[in-house]
């Protein structure tokens, strides 16, 4: 029996008449990379926001590392790192300060140690220290994502949430990012939950895939999901680009 780090039970989310999640259940196992896919409006981001306590669900319970998540209450923020879709770096702070901020808030380390650790995180995600004194607005999209990943990793999290990490990156950058995630996950005992539309990422990086359809989750390994005869899943993996990605592995 594998250890479960995130447990979502009977989650219901709706906006007006539109029911996004209808009794959704999801288990995320320790040390896996879980890819989350679904059509536009299927509630991927809402699921992520619910797990992070940024969205108040209509009903249902969410437990992360044994701690129940309450809306806008401090969750296990020491134990998770989040890479938001647009990076969400604080625009008034330099790259170095962005990465140092969580360390400064959660520990009483001396400044030099904090500085060294933040630099280390920047190096870990493949950035050179010459970017450390730049502001987010001076960086390219791919660099912003890397800085944001460095910030997400600043507190040595156990769980890493990634919201479309490779969206907006060129294929080279996206492949490098996927490799980075796999590498970090393999070396840091990380559990990764990744929302993605990038079929290459899904096939190459993810251990399991959770598909959001009809307000519920279909979860399984890539092969299991490909066997599914749900119409949306069939058409999702049936489009030419998905076929090509599948052939490439």
């Amino acid at each position: 029996m594998m250890e479960t780090v995130i447990e979502v039970r009977d989650l219901v989310n709706s906006f007006g008449d539109q029911v996004v999640h209808d009794g959704l259940c999801l288990d995320v196992r320790r040390d896996e990379i879980l890819g989350v896919v679904g059509g536009s409006g299927s509630g991927k981001s809402v699921l992520l926001r619910s797990i992070l306590g940024l969205q108040k669900p209509k009903s249902g319970t969410i437990t992360v590392l044994g701690q129940k998540i309450e809306y806008h209450q401090p969750g296990p923020s020491r134990c998770w790192g989040v890479l938001f879709q647009a990076g969400a770096l604080l625009s008034g702070l330099t790259v170095q300060q962005n990465v140092e901020l969580p360390i400064a808030l959660h520990s009483d380390m001396p400044v030099e140690t904090r500085h060294e650790l933040a630099s280390l995180k920047l190096l870990m995600v493949g950035l050179s220290l010459s970017v450390a004194d730049k502001y987010p607005s001076e960086l390219s999209g791919g660099m912003k994502k890397r800085v944001s990943l460095a910030r997400a990793l600043a507190l040595e999290p156990k769980i890493l949430f990634l919201d479309e990490p490779t969206a907006g990156l060129d294929p080279i950058g996206a492949t490098a990012f996927d490799e980075l995630i796999t590498y970090l996950q393999g070396n840091l005992d990380l559990t990764v939950v990744m929302i993605t539309h990038d079929v290459d990422s899904l096939f190459n990086t993810c251990h399991r895939i959770a598909v959001l359809v009809d307000g519920k989750v279909k979860i399984g390994t890539v092969e299991e999901i490909l066997q599914s005869d749900h119409p949306w899943i069939k058409s999702y993996f049936g489009v030419p680009r998905a076929q090509r990605a599948r052939l490439a592995i």
């Binding site: 625009s91 008034g92 520990s107 001396p110 500085h115 060294e116 870990m124 450390a132 607005s137 040595e156």
Partner: protein, 373 residues
């Protein structure tokens, strides 16, 4: 020396350090203290035995690595043995990959001579961009007036609603209150001379010539000047302004002109509301507590206050509106990089527009006095 993280055995030619326990982020402070206690004798070789580690993460591994680095600076050999986790290899990989590890010192202070030159250049550059921006706006106003489009007219009406109609309640309330305050203060002084009835003159002239328009303008600067700067700033940050340019729309025409025109229409109307409310405030006190009858009040207002007083106030309104809208939109368009800059520019917009209103008012006062109006 022994503690929760290290136990040290000293042998003739080597120092054996048993690394144990939790080498994790939360313990970094204690870990740094612990490794500071690793003090080999000259000629001793340090061996870190890591088999007893319960848990290690990047931060812990870094402390250990940093310790070996410092020992190597002192030309002391050290080795790490018995690692369970892959962390160390991982860490070494990172540090090998990055050639520059140390922070480069920032450049030394420039000479004062250069500093002055830099400041002058900066100031000149800022001035020339301001003039350029103003020119571009003036040009697009001209274009917009020559070929008015429906979009601009619709947008202008919307701005009249936001900046004018929605501001009526607050402007009316504050000028009404200021009318009351002025009447009270004037009554206190004028009663001594038995000239209580002059309170009416004072209130009606000061409100129509100065206070009405000034209060309305300051209120609008706070409400709409900030709103202009903030909304345009956010649009700038979201690349909406760039998107407009690419679509062949002139953002100055689409965003700046409707706001300027809207405010130029709205502020004079607000001024009329302000004048009426201010005089009404004065009337409340005059009739309520100074014993002047309503009819007397109206007569006195008609006698003391010419239409020219009213126009003197009103003519200033479009000028103030122009100042508020120009400064607000200009500052908004100058937002380039960050949320912080957005706040900065919004503050600047409000402070500068209120400042410029007062300056313009002083100029008007001098001008009108010279002209004898």
């Amino acid at each position: 020396m022994n503690n929760a993280f290290l136990s040290i055995e000293s042998q003739p030619d080597s120092l054996i350090v048993n690394v144990k326990g939790q080498w994790i982020f939360d313990e970094v402070l204690a870990l740094e203290e612990a490794v500071a206690g690793v003090l080999p004798e000259p000629g001793q070789k340090v061996t870190f035995k890591c088999a007893g580690l319960d848990n290690i993460d990047i931060a812990g591994a870094w402390v250990l690595y940093d310790c070996t680095e410092q020992l190597s600076v002192l030309e002391i050999e050290s080795e790490l043995v018995g690692f369970k986790a892959a962390h160390f290899k991982f860490l070494q990989h990172i540090i090998d990959a990055a050639a520059i590890r140390e922070y480069e010192e920032p450049d030394s202070e420039p000479e004062p001579r250069h500093l002055i030159r830099e400041k002058v250049e900066l100031f000149g550059g800022a001035m020339s961009t301001h003039i350029e921006d103003l020119g571009a706006i003036a040009r697009s106003i001209l274009d917009g007036v020559r070929r008015p489009s429906l979009i601009i007219i619709g947008e202008t009406i919307k701005q009249v609603y936001y900046t004018g109609v929605q501001a009526i309640p607050v402007v009316v309330v504050i000028t009404f209150l200021i009318g009351i305050v002025t009447a009270h203060q004037a009554a206190g002084q004028l009663e001594k001379f038995g000239a209580t009835v002059l309170v009416v003159d004072l209130v009606s002239i000061s409100i129509t010539r100065e206070m009405g328009v000034l209060l309305a303008a300051v209120m609008v600067a706070g409400r709409s000047g900030s709103a202009f700067a903030a909304s345009l700033g956010v649009m700038k940050l979201n690349e909406e302004v760039d998107a407009m340019r690419v679509l062949g729309l002139n953002p100055n025409q689409m965003l700046v002109i409707p706001r300027i025109l809207g405010l130029v229409i709205a502020l004079p109307v607000l001024t009329i509301f302000a004048d009426i409310a201010g005089i009404a405030g004065g009337a409340l006190i005059a009739v309520g507590s100074l014993g002047i009858s309503g009819l007397q009040f109206v007569e006195r207002v008609a006698f003391s206050t010419d239409l020219s007083d009213f126009y003197v106030g009103l003519v200033k309104a479009p000028v103030f509106a122009l100042l508020i809208a120009m400064i607000g939109t200009l500052r908004g368009m100058q937002v380039r990089f960050s949320a912080e800059e957005l706040g900065l520019k919004t503050t600047m917009a409000v402070v500068q527009s209120i400042f410029m209103i007062i300056v313009a008012d002083a100029l008007f006062a001098t001008l009108f006095t010279r002209m004898g109006i």
